[in-house]
C-alpha cells in the first residue's frame, strides 16, 4: 500500500509536465494581444513592442514555455498583468475562501446526499423514496443563483441570521455552502441510491438477513460499505469541481473566491493568472484522484491485497 502510494506520487510529475504544455498552448491561443492590453488602449506601437519585450512575448514559443516551467519550479508564477501584484499573492488570497467553502459544501452534500440516497434505496418505491428523489431532482434542476437568492431573502433579509454576502466570519459560510452543496448532495443522493439498490440485490445481503441481522445493519453496514466504493470516486470529482470556484455562487454572495478571479483574468487576458489557475485546478484534480484511489484501496480489500 505504501509502495503503491509512492509510485502514484511519482506518477504525478509526468502528468504535470503534459498538463503544463497544454495549459501553455491553450493560453497562447486565447485571441487578443496581451502586450497591447498591458500597454493600454492609447499606447503607441513602440510602447506595445517594449512591453512585449519586457514580458518576453517576442521570444520563440518553446523558449517561452521553458522559462514558464523553470519559473514555476522556482515558485515564480509571474505578475498579474492587471494588478501588477505577484500571481501567487492573487491566488493565495482567493484560494482559502474557495477551499473552505468547498469543504463545507462537501460536508453538507455528503451528509444529506448519503442519508437521502440510503433511505431512498432501502425504501424503494415508498414515499420516502419519492420524497428523496423529488428533492434530488429539485437540487439538480433548480438554478443555484435562484436558490442562493431565496436563501438570502429568507435567512439574511427576513430573519437576519446570516450576512447577505461577503466573508467576515463562519456565519458567512452557511448560506453559500448550503447553496453550493445542494446540487452536489442531489448528485450524491441519486448515485448512492442506484449503487445501493444494486448492492441490495447481492447474495451476501441475503446472507446477512439470513443471519438474523437487523435490516438497518444490513443496509447501513453490509450494504453501504460496498455501495460507497463507486460513490467515493464521484464525490471526489465533485469536490474537484467545487475547488475551481463557482462563478455563480461567488457572484450571488459576493464571495472573494477563485471563480471570480478566473473570470476577471480571462476577460482581461491576464494570462499569467490564467495559467497559474489552470495549473492549480489540474493539480487539485490530480491530488483528489490520488486520495480517491487510496480510499478505494482502503475500502476494497480486493484492491488492497493485490
Amino acid at each position: 500500500m505504501f509502495q503503491y502510494f509512492i509510485k502514484r506520487l511519482a506518477g504525478i510529475i509526468p502528468i504535470l509536465m503534459i498538463v503544463s504544455i497544454f495549459i501553455f498552448l491553450f493560453v497562447h491561443m486565447i485571441p487578443g494581444d496581451p502586450a497591447r492590453l498591458v500597454a493600454g488602449q492609447d499606447a503607441t506601437q513602440q510602447d506595445v513592442e517594449s512591453v512585449r519585450k519586457q514580458l518576453e512575448l517576442d521570444k520563440p514559443l518553446h523558449q517561452q514555455y521553458l522559462s514558464f516551467v523553470t519559473n514555476m519550479i522556482h515558485g515564480d508564477f509571474g505578475h498579474s498583468l492587471k494588478t501588477k501584484r505577484p500571481v501567487i499573492e492573487e491566488i493565495q488570497s482567493r484560494f482559502m475562501p474557495t477551499f473552505w467553502l468547498s469543504v463545507w459544501s462537501m460536508v453538507w452534500a455528503v451528509l444529506f446526499g448519503l442519508l437521502i440516497g440510503v433511505v431512498s434505496a432501502s425504501k424503494r418505491n415508498k414515499w420516502q423514496d419519492y420524497a428523496g428523489m423529488f428533492g434530488a431532482v429539485a437540487g439538480i434542476s433548480l438554478p443555484s443563483f435562484w436558490m442562493g437568492l431565496m436563501l438570502i431573502q429568507l435567512f439574511s433579509v427576513k430573519l437576519g441570521w446570516f450576512p447577505t454576502g461577503g466573508l467576515d466570519s463562519w456565519k458567512s459560510y452557511v448560506l453559500p455552502s448550503l447553496t453550493l452543496g445542494a446540487g452536489v448532495a442531489a448528485v450524491i443522493a441519486r448515485f448512492t441510491r442506484s449503487s445501493l439498490m444494486d448492492i441490495l440485490k447481492e447474495d451476501y445481503i441475503r446472507t446477512g438477513r439470513a443471519k438474523g441481522l437487523h435490516e438497518r445493519k444490513v443496509v447501513w453496514d453490509h450494504g453501504l460499505k460496498n455501495a460507497l466504493i463507486p460513490v467515493v470516486t464521484m464525490t471526489g470529482l465533485q469536490f474537484g469541481f467545487l475547488l475551481g470556484g463557482s462563478i455563480v455562487i461567488e457572484t450571488v454572495f459576493g464571495w472573494p473566491g477563485l471563480g471570480r478571479l478566473l473570470v476577471d483574468s480571462v476577460s482581461f487576458r491576464d494570462y499569467p493568472v490564467i495559467q497559474s489557475l489552470m495549473l492549480l485546478f489540474a493539480l487539485e484534480f490530480i491530488i483528489i484522484n490520488l486520495i480517491v484511489d487510496l480510499l478505494y484501496g482502503v475500502m476494497n480489500p480486493q484492491i488492497r491485497y493485490e
Binding site: R206, L213, E215, Y305
Partner: protein, 329 residues
Amino acid sequence: MRDKLLTIENLKTHFFSDDGIVPAVDGVNITIKKGETVGIVGESGCGKSVTSLSVMRLLKDTPGRVVGGSIQFKGKDLLSLSDREMRNIRGNEIAMIFQEPMTSLNPVLTIGRQIKEAVGLHLGLEGKKAHEHVIEMLKLVGIPRAEEIVNEYPHQLSGGMRQRVMIAMAMSCKPKLLIADEPTTALDVTIQAQILELMKKLSAEEETAIMLITHDLGVVAEMCDRVVVMYAGKVVEEADIYELFENPKHPYTKGLLQSIPKLREKKNRLGSIPGTVPNPLERPPGCKFAPRCSEVFDLCREVEPELLPVGADHQCRCLLYQRDLVKEA
C-alpha cells in the same frame, strides 16, 4: 416417531409481476422432524428456493409474497411472528446456506467479522470469547490456518473454502434446522463430496435437521432420510428414501430416477425427461405434468390430482393411484 420440527402446510407463495401472478409455490406440504435430513428435489424453476425463502421469510425485496398456508416451527407459526421474533430465529434456530459460495459472503468484511455477527447476535458472545468460538467453528468445518483466516477476506478463499465458511457461520449458533439450497451445485465434484460429508457429520453431531434442496438425486441418495419431489410449485411425491428409490410411484419421479447417471458415469444434470417445465404463467389445467407424462390419460388433462397416501409413509399426486376418483368421473 420423532417430533415434528417444521411443518409447512398448503404453502402458497406467489410473485406479482407485470405479466401476471406467478404461483411459484402453489400449495406445498412438507414436514421435517428433529434431526432428520429431508431432500427437496425437482427441476429448476419448480419452486424449491422460493419454498425455503418463504420459511426464512427472506422474500423482502422480491415481488414475491406468501399468500396462503402456514409454516409451523417448533409449534410457532413463523408467518405470524413479528420481524424481531423472526430475526431471533434466523441464523439461530434456522440457518441457511446458499448455492453460490462465491457471492454469498460480503467482500468488504473479514471472514471472522461475518461469523462473529451471528455469534454476537444469538449467543451473546463478544470480544475474545466470540473470537475463540469463531476459530473453533472454522476448525470444525476443516479450515486450515483458522487463526489467520479470521482476518482474511472472502476473495482470498476458494469456492469450497467459502462454502465451509458459510457452513461454519450457519452452524455457529447450533441451529435446529439447516436449510441448504443447492449447497454443492457450484462446486467441483470432489469438493462436493467433502462438503456433503461435512454437513452430514455436523448434523449428526448437533442433531440438526437439514432441508436439503437439490436437483441431484445422487446427492439425495447420499444424504437424506426422506425425499420430497416437487413439480411446478407442488409436491408430487414424498417418501422414505429407500421407498422412493425402490418403489417410485409418480411418473415424474420415475423419469427423474431414470435420468440419474449410473454410478461413476459422467455426471449429468436432471432434465432428460422429454419436454420442459411449463411456464408458471401458463400452467395447464389438470395435472401439471400431463403434457410430459408417458402414462397420461384423458382425465389427467382435466382433473388436478390430490397428494394422497399410496403406501406406508408414502404419498403421491397422480391419478394412476386414484382409480376410485377416475371411476367416479
